[in-house]
Assembly symmetry: C2
Homo-oligomer: 408 residues x 2
């Protein structure tokens, strides 16, 4: 396949910040004769401070193990990503293949292999077609371009129906800095699982430990607040690279400049997280669950996330059914402390439960309001001051079809 | 509605043991002019030792609160149950109504209200039609009969497609004793949630504290191993009454006789639990997850139950897709300790993953084996000796339809 020329493309997503280039190629990872690009590489001209957060799943894919190891030095020059195969549960051969991807990328980026990060997404339990992948890396290495961020966002897609990119800017000492990112998620090509990969870049200059700290914080309020089906991938990974190419001063902990970067990073990741939920498998509606009055932050988050993963809440939202009892059921089973006689519940703006009993709202009106594509669910637990928000989506027959109605 | 005459009916389910009678009536709990019996009462001629286990949901329905209180004395004479309304999230009026149900039942059973247990199942957040319910209790009180166990099992159904009963017998000192039970679950009438109610009776003589201990143990290996959709009801309740009517000696802790009763109770509850999963909303297949090699019992159970609640595993089972990577993903996210290089995974009898890597099994064969209505999933975590089994069911478009595709 000959790639679309870069003509007309602008730097976007992971190449929006200065000094980053991307390229894609087709490795036919699935071995089905596909020509769609399924391999992307991202490089930085200057060595970048790097940080990552990874799946909490005890079954970690080989690329996760390798990237975690390489991130210990806090600096990166390149990232290589393939879709179509997760390289998970593949034993020592999987590990060797992840390292071969790293070496091939180090060759084209002219850097130490320890400065290359690697990510994979797709089916679990199959070995990579490593020769085709190495050839694709070499091919991509010849056409690295700041205009190819969008192509990279497309190459990492699986069942995503659209690429996901976001960009924010902030100014430090008169110098404009950019934070850009791309993500894929809800993805699945037969057979697969909801794998989330996210990559952010910035031309700000920042030390690796501060970068790691701000990334953890940003992930907490973005990716860790969303749920599509409650299943956690073996390959989840969010990486950030900061190369300092904008020429501004180094961002120091506690400064207004660092706060400006943190806010831009938060926004980019929240934007990408929202795009992932909206493009979730079979999704027709999303809903935001806001818990207030919780005993502490952990309990607020627990309650909010439990509501977003409840199949009975998700199907009720899908059907436009103002069945608010299911929401209280989910809050109750989360284990968060609550005082039922001080609880309040609002659904799509209507207060349906207050001070321990149902209100007199006309449920027909609520039902009509539930036809909106985005629904607000607000619950006050009545025991404290902590708050949290989580983002979920409906459960549809289309989700079942995508994930069940085929055979290998 | 005139009830079917008792002629031709035999004692079964909760009236299989000696000295128990049941009766049903229609209270039109849903207020839709229904004539199907939706109220059941169960009485015992002799005072019965009683024990119960209840939902862990922090939002507890009024009948749960009342039954927990009444069980403190360890003795019961009657149980009253309605379907169609859960009497949950109904504030002080709900509590008063649960007590009114208790009083009306005490009147017909001629006992102290403190000896009456109460259970409700159905929609959350609506007040009971207490006058119709009281009239139905009075009506049912006039036709208590040992032959009406089956009618009671039918009256407590919601979206269940069939009544669930089980009976076991055991012999102590030459005296045959019976343990019988009934349950409902996966139930929903618009709008509702998966509420599980189970009731067991026995004509054995046993002290309340030993009965409670054996009930907790039996529930752990029966109802607490099943999952239909991962949501825990506000009304879950499992009660057992032992009236001693068989005339055998009192069962004492640690005796062979107590072990005989415990085994019979285990079997009755496991039988009912299996019936509930098989009749789950939209279910076409069930699967048993057996975890071995776990570090301890708690981790074995955690891993097994996480697999049964994974939407990606449930949809793969539905589609007959041998996508075993999803099973390892679910085990991994459960948080149970595992040694991936010593893990083994068998699906429908085929070993697909062993010692850290995929095996060479032909997936077409596995796919064919997955068309069976009951599937075995076996995973050895490779770290210890503990084992656990959990029972799950597939996730289907029909589940989504039942729970979503209507509006109030």
């Amino acid at each position: 396949m000959s790639l679309a020329p870069a003509v007309g493309l602008e730097p976007s997503g992971v190449t929006a910040a200065q000094g980053f280039r991307a390229a894609v190629a087709s490795a036919d990872v699935r071995g089905e004769g596909g020509v769609r690009p399924d391999l992307a590489i991202l490089t930085t001209e200057l060595p970048a401070a790097a940080a990552g957060v990874f799946t909490q799943n005890r079954v970690k894919a080989a690329p996760v193990v390798v990237s975690q190891l390489h991130l210990k030095r806090g600096v990166a020059r390149a990232v290589v990503i393939n879709s179509g195969n997760a390289n998970a549960c593949t034993g020592s051969q999987g590990l060797a293949d992840a390292l071969r991807m790293v070496q091939a990328t180090a060759d084209v980026a002219d850097c130490d292999p320890g400065e290359v990060l690697v990510a994979s997404t797709g089916v679990i339990g199959r070995q990579l077609p490593i020769d085709r992948i190495r050839a694709a890396i070499a091919e991509a290495g010849g056409r690295l371009d700041p205009a190819h961020g969008r192509l990279a966002a497309e190459a990492i897609m699986t069942t995503d129906t659209r690429p996901k990119e976001a960009v924010e800017q902030f100014v430090v000492a008169g110098v404009t800095h950019t934070v850009g990112g791309m993500a894929k998620g809800a993805g699945m090509i037969h057979p697969d699982m909801a794998t989330l990969l996210a990559f952010a870049t910035t031309d700000a200059r920042i030390a690796p430990d501060l970068l790691a700290e701000l990334l953890r914080s940003a992930v907490r309020t973005s990716f860790n607040t969303i749920s599509i089906d409650g299943d956690t991938s073996t390959n989840d990974c969010c990486l950030v690279l900061a190369n300092g190419a904008a020429g501004g001063p180094e961002l120091v902990r506690g400064s207004a400049a660092a706060a400006g970067f943190a806010q831009a990073l938060d926004r980019v990741l929240q934007d990408l997280a929202g795009q992932i939920v909206a493009d979730g498998e079979g999704v027709t509606k999303t809903f935001a669950v806001t818990i207030s009055g919780a005993a502490d932050q952990q309990q607020a988050t627990l309650a909010a996330r439990t509501v977003t993963t409840s199949p009975l809440v998700k199907t009720a939202i899908h059907g436009g059914d103002p069945n608010w009892g299911r929401i209280l059921m989910a809050v109750g089973r989360s284990g968060a402390d609550l005082a039922l006689d001080r609880c309040r519940l609002r659904l799509a703006g209507f207060e349906l439960f207050a001070l321990g009993r149902p209100t007199a709202v006309d449920l027909q009106q609520v039902s009509a309001a539930l036809s909106q594509p985005t629904i607000a669910i607000e619950i006050d637990l009545g025991v404290g001051e902590a708050e949290a928000t989580a983002l979920g989506c409906d459960l549809t027959s289309e989700y079942v079809r995508i994930n069940g109605e085929y055979s290998t």
